[in-house]
Amino acid sequence: MNSLIPLLIAAPLAGAALLLLGGRALDRFGHWIATALAALSCAFGLVLFFDMLGRDTEHRAVTTRLFSWIPVNGFQADVSFQLDQLSIVFVLLITGVGTLIHLYSVGYMAHDERRRRFFAYLNLFLAAMLILVLADNYLLLYVGWEGVGLASYLLIGFWQHKPSAATAAKKAFIVNRVGDLGLSIAIMLMFAEFGSFAFHPVFSAAGDATEGKLTAIGLMLLLAACGKSAQVPLQSWLGDAMEGPTPVSALIHAATMVTAGVYLITRSSAIFDLAPDAQTAVVVVGAVTLLFGAIVGCAKDDIKKALAGSTMSQIGYMIMAAGLGPVGYAFAIMHLVTHGFFKAGLFLGAGSVMHGMNDEVNMRHYGGLRKYMPWTFWTFMAGYAAIIGFPFLSGFFSKDKIIEAALAKGGTEGWILGGCALLGAAVTAFYMTRVVLLTFFGEKRWQPDAEGNEPHPHESPKTMVIPMVVLTFGSLFAGGLFSLGDSFLNFLEPVTGFEEGHSPLNALTVSAIATVCMAAGVGLAWLMYGRSPVPVKPPVGSLLTRAARRDLLQDDFNHAVLVRPGSALAATLVWFDSKGLDGFVNGLAAAIGGLSGRLRRIQTGYVRTYALSMFGGTLVLVASTLLMRSV
């Protein structure tokens, strides 16, 4: 059964290779191959899952070693995979949502001439993401980590002829690289400390290391997580990443890849549990991003960017939960899964809307679409209800648990964190309601596109609707299913550990407060956008709104602090290299040339001058001979 694990990865990898190398011959049906292979991978995942359920708790985790990858004396990196409860959750999420999105893309990308490549990249992404979650050591995880980064780069920049897409892709990759820096330093620290970087040995030896070292490793891992999961301060790439095709945004930048940071922190729980300072940093990052993303989401008029802000914010929840320690790991993962469903559903819905509206993304140019796209509308509403935490839907369960866990932190910290989480919930309700109102309700504010075509909104083809419907089920019922008898918690506990948090408020009260917050957010949004017609031109807005539209000035900050001095430095060095170093060398050459020009004058051409110098030379020779003799 273990041999299925490599096959799980091999299927999409083979798909990617086949589609990329296969050439134009595969243009007509390549996308179906890719979808089939994704589904095959998903099937393998399900088989493995049920196989795992069939064993008792102690024997659920299995590893399979393929071959030794980089063996250099003490440095032993293997290509070896570990499938445990945490991994299988991710495997199912990735392959499941991945398959659905493959299917969706068949319809969405039907008219793109480079469709074959798109599917190749999607398959590549699946393979890399599976490597990421199945690796049994950090170095192999790093391969998957950068592999998804590559896939993300290729897919964000899929429409390369658009300069904005190409720039966004590059930006995503480079910001991620900064995060990867953290991961590589963490691996190096582990190797220097433990002589290994495989999960099991490191976690079992973690207790021996000093807290300082563990904190350093933890902070480096956090940096990596920040990069991949778009957390403050490395969040700036996610909004731009929406330049990619919408299925990509749904799969990579909402459901799976961006949650890799949460996976990393949860996976490294053994390290974080022993490094409280690092945990605090994680919590702070999570809480800040939670609010940051939510505020950005409120101001964006671009439907995908609003959803991207939301993604950032929701991942902030997960990171915060993961930072809380064993109290929160399981809930972080649970929220991750439910978020995967409803956010993917929301993005697919957004994609469907764009598909019907000539790829218009500005919500101010939508309005009243519910009549034209009923399927899209209802699936979107399901996702909407789930994300705002409408009672007894997926988001309600997972988010409430996180708020509880935050409050359970205790003391002022607990109140602050809980307060942030509740505030976040209210803001989430506000911006999501705004999205829904602007898109599906109100007047038609449709605008002709650049070529003057009036939009004719229509429902999307079946291949797009079916995935949305399937995801709707996940959005509606996954949370409830997981919470039924704490099944999810019990399943994950052997990996992540769990301890009951002691919240100052009981669960019911928390739920009630959260629901009230949610209702307040929805109400405020309705007051602002539901009652009165929405202007097509965005109003100037307050200072905060304007800042939020610019991603709270993150890009400006980066530009001023990093990009501009960086390029100035590069320019200075280029100058220094040609004028300084090379100038020195050339100057030396010129000096020697000048000197020989002077010396050349000694060569007067007069025989007698030469004779004199010979005479002088003889003199010196005789003198030195005599001198040597006398010495």
Binding site: L20, R65, F67, W69, I70, P71, V72, N73, G74, F75, Q76, A77, D78, V79, D136, N137, L139, V143, E146, G147, L150, Y153, Q160, H161, K162, P163, A165, A166, K170, F173, I174, R177, V178, L181, S184, I185, I187, M188, L189, F191, A192, E193, F194, G195, S196, A198, P201, V202, S204, D208, A209, S567, L569, A570, A571, L573, V574, D577, L581, V585
Partner: protein, 537 residues
Amino acid sequence: MSYLLSATCAVPAVGAVVTAALPAGTGEARRRTTKAVALGFSVATLGLAAAIAASFQPGGARYQLTESYSWIRSFGIDFSLGADGIGTVLALLTAVLVPLVMLAGWHDADPSAPEGTFESKRRTQGFFALILAVEAMVLVSFLATDVFVFYVFFEAMLIPMYFLIGGFGDRAGGPDSARQRSYAAVKFLLYNLLGGLVMLAAVIGLYVVASDQGLATFSLPALTDAISSGKLVIDPTAQRALFLGFFFAFAVKAPLWPLHTWLPKAMGESTAGTAVLITAVVDKVGTFAMLRFCLGLFPDASKTFAPAILVLSLIGIVYGALVAIGQKDIKRLVAYASISHFGFIIMGIFAMTSQGQSGATLYMVNHGISTAAWMLVAGFLISRRGSRLIADYGGVQKVAPVLAGTFLIGGLATLSLPGLAPFVSEFLVLVGTFTRYPVIGIIATFGIVLAALYSLMLYQRTMTGPVKASVTGMPDLKARELAVVAPLVALTVLLGVYPQPLTRMVDPAVNDTLSQIHRTDPAPAHPVAATTGGEQK
């Protein structure tokens, strides 16, 4: 005594003579014969190099397949060859790259001068003969086990390289390209001659010191054995001076910051194939020699100077990358990227850990392959448009997707994407450095961010965006060009996923080097009992 090594070195040498002697003429058929003959010799060399690798026993003696012929008896100079893991791997790299470089430069030596101006009728013969000559000399350098023989070929290599750089340029040259080329060639020659001169003094000094103590030989194994066993004692001051003499030559060739300024010029002005020869093959002799000669012959001085050299290489890493970011010329960008990479290689060597040195050796191979892919595709691109300026391109992926794709793979390999070969070596170098010098290791890690910057910026500016008018109608890669790039890409992926064939050959040599200098890897602070799934070698 097997003749495999000498045969491997002799085949390209004979090939160079034969190619040069082929009948001149400007006809297409004549030229094709010439090219086919040269390519045939290089492929034969590849076969022989593969035979060396195949018959190499990783567990056996340090130097295998040794041969020795007396040369200058009165100075104890023998023409002796021997293959160790490091040399074998690099010889194989050379043998792989040369046929590809020839294929890539298939038309680089076709008559280019306008009708009526003077141009040699033996241009094609000369070009291919020179490439073969370089190959022969590089192979001898990698396989020589005699310090003097190494020195002679290390220096002699400059002659054909000089003519390759000065005589053959790409289509992108401006009106004064000939002048620029000869400037580049002279600069290349002067820099390297200066280094070689200093080295010659050190070689003689070494001989004097050794013969004073009754060891009148240039044989590397004999000298290193005597030094590591304490039979030959070089006093510290002399050792430092000799070390610097050797190191200077290698640092110029490698090149190490701040001795690098010849490289961008030489790579920028020559053809893409020549640039690959420079950076992927000839420069490797420098780093290879640091590992084999500097460390083995002067262990104490190496340890003394290691921190300073590490700092220089660190500067090189960051500096090269930053300057690459600011470049406007594609080939110069690749050259500066190479400077950054050479920083990594030197850093790995002088970190003096097994990971660092294995990583550095792998890095030499991987950098050779990946840069060759990147540079040759860049060369194809330049040959289509006739400009080296980044600003002249844009949107190429739309018209030539395969070209763009391979260019991207080259770029990704350069930025050390995991799964591609350079990642393995770069990570090993970083880990190896980090375990001994944590701060330097961490700063060097920043190099990976900068690498991503220059590599992706180059791709973005040339390949993406709207199709520029000057690019429209640009043909995609032709079969010949694909035949050049495909093996390189395949190797990049293969060695990234399964580098074991190389590490198995390199590791014993590296361990031997480390034991010669009496260095062991720093032990982890809290070692875990069993490593990952375990199988220790």
